[in-house]
């Protein structure tokens, strides 16, 4: 069952990916065939089987919630330099309001 154009656009939107019309035409059939292949799992007998979420068996590994201080020019500069766009001591981001 081929993915419809709407489905592809919906997935792209959820994944925050802009697809050109060429890309839509290109990825659509590929996604359809991959999903068809993995879809064979539908025929597997797994009723009543407990899902495995992690193979290590470790569950809810936590540590104490401790506040640490990151101070100093170097630390600050290191953190700020990770951003794509800076305005001095500020990080620039595109607007979050719908318009």
């Amino acid at each position: 069952m081929a993915l419809s154009h709407q489905e592809i656009m919906h997935i792209a939107r959820l994944a925050r990916l802009k697809l050109s019309s060429d890309e839509q035409a290109h990825y659509g059939p590929q996604l359809t065939s991959i999903l068809a292949y993995v879809g064979q799992l539908q025929n597997a007998a797994v009723e009543g089987v407990k899902p495995t979420h992690t193979v290590s068996g470790a569950i809810n590994v936590t540590r104490a919630d401790e506040a640490t201080c990151i101070s100093g020019e170097t630390a600050r500069e290191t953190l700020l330099s990770q951003s794509a766009m800076r305005g001095g001591d500020f990080l620039k981001v595109p607007g979050v309001f719908q318009d």
Binding site: A15, L31, Y37, L41, K50, V55, V61, Q82, V93, P94
Partner: protein
């Protein structure tokens, strides 16, 4: 100084005896990289200055007397964070990223006094079986430059095969160490899930990823593994385990090896495995049988579902792990500087979208490659409302069944053996238009990751590629090189936290064979030339 045949052990002994210095050694490797990397594209970043400084420090402290990796040069796959050194994960979206911290494995290696030669090329975000998905160009197989080295850790595999580093770190989520090791004729170790910290490993699929080792010998892989393993409080999935030491045996009398019938078929008649691969792997297993191993066919009943399970679990976790790449964090992409992105509100599909969302969509479209997009979309679909139960949950249930299959098999046998890859190295571009055929390259490796087990690929001989075959295949026992001889890999799988069993059989196998001593012929001449078709 000739370095291409050196191993970690030989280097350690040479340094301890002061036969050469780490600086001389590092100089020699750097010169080799300078000469050959333009043709191989194995390294994305060569850390020449840092390497020489580290080598000098190693020579001064002379830790080589005690620490097996002190002063020993290494290459590191570009998915592992190295402080102050560009780390790209093979992706354009990280082209401006310099990690402010070291991965735990790097911290451990630094403590040992290792020398970093550089960061190796890989498929983008470790997704691929050929290293053709890198945003920085494909890696070439040192045995035949028109062919792939395998992936996703193609750069690390090629570097070790070409003698550009005595060992390299890689990562293996679905076979990304074992498969390129097989295609490049080197040892590739995938570790038990949880045995090596993932802190600082750029996450692809968090329940499947593990850092592992490429080397020429199993002995070296064991040495490096014992340095990088260990519980790490910064990785909540890591588990402590004792050091793993392979025994040096005289034979295999008490070794029980099982071959999954679902992989090779009854009497090895499975389609899809090249004849040359079958021949070499069967010869290797026969060699162990001659030394006393008991070889039987075993069953992993759910193995036919492993690939489908993997290609639901991995893309799902990928879609989640790649969500952080928004074009704002991690330095963004180069085009930001030129402000090439201009919003065109008249062309939008969604009215009243925020600039931020449009930014995400645009930056990710430009920064992520095709395979990353494909897997993100598959994963997004599988996890989306209405589909979670049908895909992801089912895959997690199949995961339980696959683990049980292995547990049951290991009640009968000590180790499982099979080909690592169904084929030898294929031509660059051969699978470019068929993602599904690329996924099939992982058919013998993915179940191991799903079950969280350790696995190793060992060089077990050579076979010509079917697409260059002239005349007949070399017959059993004959290792004549006709056509283009390409490496074949033998895979062993052990129970969880039993890397020692892999090391034992591997060291023994390498004591009675010499495939791992072969080096690519094209690189033997002192003036390196491109020779193959």
């Amino acid at each position: 100084m000739e370095v291409k045949n050196l191993t970690v052990r030989k280097i350690h002994e040479g340094l301890a005896k002061k036969e050469f210095s780490s600086v001389e050694l590092t100089d020699a490797y750097l010169a080799r990289i300078k000469k050959m990397n333009p043709s191989l594209n194995a390294f994305l970043t060569v850390t020449e200055d840092e390497a020489l400084k580290e080598a000098q420090a190693a020579d001064e402290t002379n830790e080589a007397r005690n620490a097996p990796l002190a002063g020993v040069p290494a290459a590191v796959k570009d998915v592992i964070a190295t402080k102050g050194i560009r780390t790209t994960a093979g992706s354009k979206i990280l082209e401006r990223y310099t990690p402010p911290y070291d991965a735990t494995v790097i911290e451990k290696l630094k403590k040992e006094g290792y020398v970093l030669l550089g960061k190796t090329n890989c498929d983008e975000f470790a997704m691929g079986g050929s290293n053709e998905n890198s945003a920085f160009g494909a890696v070439k197989n040192p045995w035949d430059l028109s062919r792939v080295p395998g992936g996703s850790s193609g750069g690390s595999a090629a570097a070790v095969a070409a003698g550009l580093a005595p060992y390299a770190l890689g990562s293996d989520t679905g076979g990304s160490i074992r498969q390129p090791a097989s295609l490049c004729g080197v040892v590739g170790l995938r570790t038990t899930y949880g045995s090596v910290s993932r802190y600082g490993l750029i996450a692809m699929a968090s329940s499947l990823d593990q850092i592992g080792v490429f080397s020429r010998t199993v002995d070296d892989a064991e040495t490096v593994f014992n340095v990088i393993r260990g519980h790490d409080p910064r990785d909540a999935t890591s588990i402590g385990s004792p050091p793993q030491k392979g025994e040096t045996k005289r034979g295999c009398e008490d070794l029980k090896i099982g071959i999954p019938i679902e992989y090779v078929g009854k009497d090895w008649n499975a389609e899809g495995i090249e004849e040359g691969v079958k021949a070499r792997v069967r010869e290797a297993i026969a060699a162990l049988e001659k030394q006393g191993a008991a070889v039987t066919m075993i069953s992993l009943p759910h193995a036919p579902y492993a690939l489908a399970t993997y290609y639901i679990l991995a893309p799902s976790e990928v879609s989640s792990n790649l969500a952080r790449y928004d074009g704002i964090r991690y330095g963004g992409i180069e085009e930001i500087q030129s402000s090439a992105f201009v919003r065109d509100k008249s062309k939008r599909d969604v009215p009243h979208q925020s600039a931020l969302i449009e930014w995400y969509e645009e930056m990710r479209a430009r920064g992520l490659g095709a395979e990353a997009k494909r897997r993100t979309m598959i994963g997004t679909y599988a996890l989306s409302s209405g589909y979670y139960d049908a895909y992801y949950k089912k895959a997690q249930q199949m995961r339980t069944l696959l683990r049980q299959d292995f547990e049951n098999a290991f009640k009968e046998v000590d180790l499982i053996a099979c080909p690592t890859s169904p084929t030898v190295a294929f031509k660059i571009g051969a699978k470019a238009n068929d993602p599904l055929s690329m996924y099939l390259a992982d058919i013998f490796t993915v179940a191991v990751n799903i079950a969280g087990l350790p696995g190793i690929s060992l060089p077990c001989g050579f076979a010509p590629a079917p697409d260059t075959q002239q005349g007949s295949l070399p017959s059993k026992g004959e290792n004549k090189r006709e056509g283009v001889p390409l490496p074949v890999g033998l895979q062993f799988i052990a129970p969880a936290f039993k890397e020692s069993a892999l090391f034992s059989v591997g060291k023994f196998y390498q004591s009675v064979t010499d495939h791992h001593l072969e080096t690519p012929p094209a690189l033997s001449s002192s003036s390196y030339e491109v020779t193959s078709s």
